[in-house]
Symmetry: C2
């Protein structure tokens, strides 16, 4: 008997109209559930435009406690559709202390767990270090009724350490809510290299750890406040890779889309028996990984 | 001013005729040097057929000390062609103690350093645990006149830890002498997944560490001694990926070939400034990497 999990990936655009944006998210979740999804994954910070294009203290007003009004609405959707739901929120933990947090809801709407983004980016157009305190919950998978989920967020996807730690703690699927795009000055060939690198490294994590990887990215151009000619073209392309890194499905780079993919979780053990990577890790020789650099 | 290194990858078949096999290796090195290579990389255990298809103590007779006759011949070739040469040998360290060892020669034929394969495979057709003691030199790059080389060997390529440790120690290029192939019972789609996984994970190491990766694989079918209908179809496909994981060149899957690729080592710093992965590693939260498993 195979253990099948059907995953729904909701790739959408976001606007300043919070209700319209939420309505699209809700429609995506309902559509995924109707099409058989047991697990639905939303993109990073799906409640509105990617506000980290600038550093503006006014945005802290949109952060919320967990639980709070935003998680209550998402919990109701999880309960209504009876799916396990991975959402991504701007968490207000205390005055002056905020996180980029993924919340995982059970089918009954209860909160199964949360993950606070551990690796925080800071580069032009992605000013996350201003808003988000690096996570302090470590790399701990969340136990749910569909699978043990290794939920990570966006910039984490460039770190093999994060995926490995989730897998060592028994994660059965890697899940990456994401907001990645191109800035206007990137020429076409640089855009292609960046998108390909984004896909390839996550496929690499699937291969190294022999578990599927699910990446959900936002889509659409979002102008930079005050500089409408500037902005980020989020490139969508949400995808699912199997435990050998094989691409199982990919969304378009320019449209809203809900992708449905079935995963056989029993493949992991078969693949790990074929290529027993976990057997041979040289844990006696990995101490250097705890160093910033070795020079 | 860019720092350009031109790499030659010698992908070849191997036979029981040791002299004929060496002649092909020598011709490949000379061809690469003539075409501008500063650095030439040979495939894993290039001196003959991949003997680890069976467990036979008679093969220990072919192991050699380093330095020894095999390294003397290779050193002479490095000196003659004035290239930095990465070779792969069956090292006899002491009676009953053998390693799968890469030897790195300077342009003058001196030995710049060696790397003893740290991760040793053992699966049907790849009985390496019988022959090779796991390396005890750690993940230490070798300083050469062309670059600091992160030399790893074959099965190491499945371990992000190995690539990361080399990069943290300042490796400028990852180098993987390899012997990987298909066994007859693999159906076509499994073959495609395996080869694609092999390429993808190494591209992933290039991306994560923002340095080029050079993989040189043997090519051709080698029957299993005593079971000529059985054996391994080594799939060649030697390749070079740049520091964003972009494929710069790939050899064929079924022919002997010497590939020449120029690398601009200054790209690494540009790419690392664009996407500063090294800045944000959560070394405070990576302790679990030193565990076998976390359950």
């Amino acid at each position: 008997m195979s253990r099948i999990v059907t995953v729904g990936l909701v790739q959408q655009t976001c606007s300043d109209d919070k209700e319209a944006t939420f309505a699209k998210t809700a429609a995506g979740i309902r559509d995924a559930a109707k099409r058989g999804a047991d697990l639905v994954v939303l993109q990073e910070l799906h409640a509105g435009p990617y506000f980290c294009q600038t550093e503006d203290p006014a945005h802290f007003a949109h952060a919320e406690s967990i639980p709070g009004p935003a998680t209550n609405r998402l919990a109701a959707l999880a309960r209504e559709t009876a799916v396990v739901l991975v959402a991504s929120l701007f968490e207000r933990r205390a005055p002056g202390l905020y996180h980029n947090t993924a919340v995982i809801f059970e089918r009954d709407g209860s909160i199964a767990g949360r993950y606070r983004k551990m690796h925080i980016p800071e580069d032009p157009g992605f000013n996350e270090k201003f808003y988000f305190t690096p996570g302090d919950l470590g790399f701990t998978p969340i136990e749910t009724s569909v699978a043990r989920l290794g939920v990570l967020v966006c910039w984490d996807q460039w770190y093999p350490e994060a995926a490995r730690l989730m897998a060592l703690a028994g994660a059965e699927i890697l899940v990456y809510p994401t907001a990645i795009g191109w800035v206007p000055e990137d020429p076409d060939e640089e855009r292609a290299r960046q998108r390909d690198a984004w896909i390839t490294i996550q496929r690499g994590h699937a291969i190294a750890n022999q578990i599927p990887a699910v990446a959900v990215n936002r889509v659409g151009f979002e102008p930079r406040p005050g500089h409408p000619e500037d902005g980020i073209a989020f490139f969508g392309g949400s995808f699912v890779a199997g435990p050998q890194g094989e691409i199982l499905a990919t969304a378009s780079t320019d449209r809203e889309e809900t992708l449905i993919v079935s995963l056989d979780l029993d493949r992991t053990e078969e693949v790990r028996q074929l290529w027993p990577f976990f057997r041979d890790r040289r844990i006696d020789a990995y101490d250097g990984l705890l160093n910033r650099y070795l020079e």
